[in-house]
């Protein structure tokens, strides 16, 4: 990744490569935007109104955090909002880590930096850092980030309207959809034995605490399971590095 900005800054991007990056960014945008519909539907099922749902997609704009927020207020209502904020914020830390890696690559300042920060998410980062050329990386970041933003917001609106029209969310299995959504968000991260260990411990902590404390708190407490990662991975020293580049 650091090798990217050594090369070819300032040169023109080959038209073939340019088209390729556009296509890649837009296809990620379409694929990611599509599941904004599930976010919209689940958010209104969790008790948010249409505008609150839309505000999360437009202003928070980071899928995992948005799902966490509605998951917790869906279970605990207004009383669970502090826990919902804490959980969505902890999930948002990774965007800050992406930004650390992107700041040199993108070379943005002022207003552009604010815009870049807003669209710094899993998908835009992944497309940017997978390019072998700094111009392609910048183009990939913006095309992906902006297309996800537009489609994610449009699909959120569609989902919220559908969700409002559905009536009883349980009858349509929307609670099952929420569980499936969290499973699908977690799945790609379970790449190592350590990751699985952390996930299992977190699940046990959360379920164990659930009967005793207010809704949302078990999820925050389970974040402590991440401390298992403090010590180095058991296998070769290279493992952490490999995992990082894969994620």
């Amino acid at each position: 990744m650091t090798a990217v900005h050594e090369k070819s800054a300032g040169t023109r991007l080959d038209p073939v490569l340019r088209r390729q990056v556009w296509r890649q960014g837009l296809s990620v945008g379409v694929a990611t935007g599509a599941y904004g519909i599930s976010f919209g539907a689940l958010a209104v099922a969790a008790g948010l109104n249409l505008w609150q749902t839309q505000a999360l997609s437009a202003l928070m704009f980071t899928g995992g955090s948005q799902f966490a927020f509605i998951g917790i207020v869906g279970g605990g209502g207004l009383g669970a909002t502090p826990a919902a904020i804490a959980a969505s914020s902890m999930l948002g830390i990774r965007n800050g880590l992406y930004a650390l890696e992107l700041t040199q690559l993108l070379g943005v300042t002022r207003l552009r930096r604010l815009a870049a920060a807003h669209v710094t998410i899993d998908e835009s980062t992944a497309v940017a850092v997978s390019q072998g050329d700094v111009r392609a990386a910048r183009l990939g970041f913006w095309v992906t980030g902006l297309s996800v933003f537009v489609l994610w917001n449009l699909m959120t609106l569609a989902g919220a309207l559908v969700g409002n029209a559905l009536g009883d969310p349980k009858q349509w299995g929307l609670d099952g959809a929420a569980c499936a959504a969290f499973t699908a968000l977690l799945w790609p991260r379970l790449k190592s034995r350590d990751a699985v260990g952390i996930a299992v411990l977190a699940a046990v902590i959360a379920i164990g605490l659930s009967p005793a404390v207010p809704a949302g708190v078990p999820v925050i407490a389970a974040a402590a399971a991440a401390l298992l990662a403090w010590r180095a991975p058991r296998t070769a020293a290279g493992q952490a590095r490999t995992e990082e580049t894969q994620s």
């Binding site: 599941y35 959809a177 699908a184 990751a195 699940a203 389970a222």
Partner: protein, 104 residues
């Protein structure tokens, strides 16, 4: 706290975290222990969300119902490399059909 305040505060924190990465010196977060723990945070939080959304009922009591079946179907779909939206729809279908069949 009203829902609006919560939505705006959470969105503000999310943006601040993104922006911070562009503004702060990277030293603290580059420390290997801290880096590993922050990378592991989403795993712990998402696993906890799967667990509580699936296996708890009212007031945090343990529950085993159609949601667990929805997660089972989701895992099978993920093993078959189904896209996110397909996994979510299958989860909804599973829960809805089981409920229709009379299983909570």
């Amino acid at each position: 706290m009203t829902m609006w305040v919560a939505v705006l505060v959470a969105a503000g924190v999310a943006f601040a975290l993104k922006l911070a990465g562009y503004l702060v010196p990277a030293k603290v977060l580059q420390e290997p222990h801290v880096k590993r723990v922050t990378a592991a945070l989403p795993i712990a939080l998402l696993a906890a969300l799967v667990a509580t959304q699936t296996f708890t009922g009212p007031h945090g009591s343990l529950a085993l119902d159609s949601r667990a079946a929805a997660v089972g179907v989701a895992v099978i779909a993920l093993l078959l490399r189904a896209p996110f939206i397909v996994v979510v729809v299958l989860g909804a279908l599973t829960a809805a059909l089981l409920r229709l069949a009379g299983w909570a």
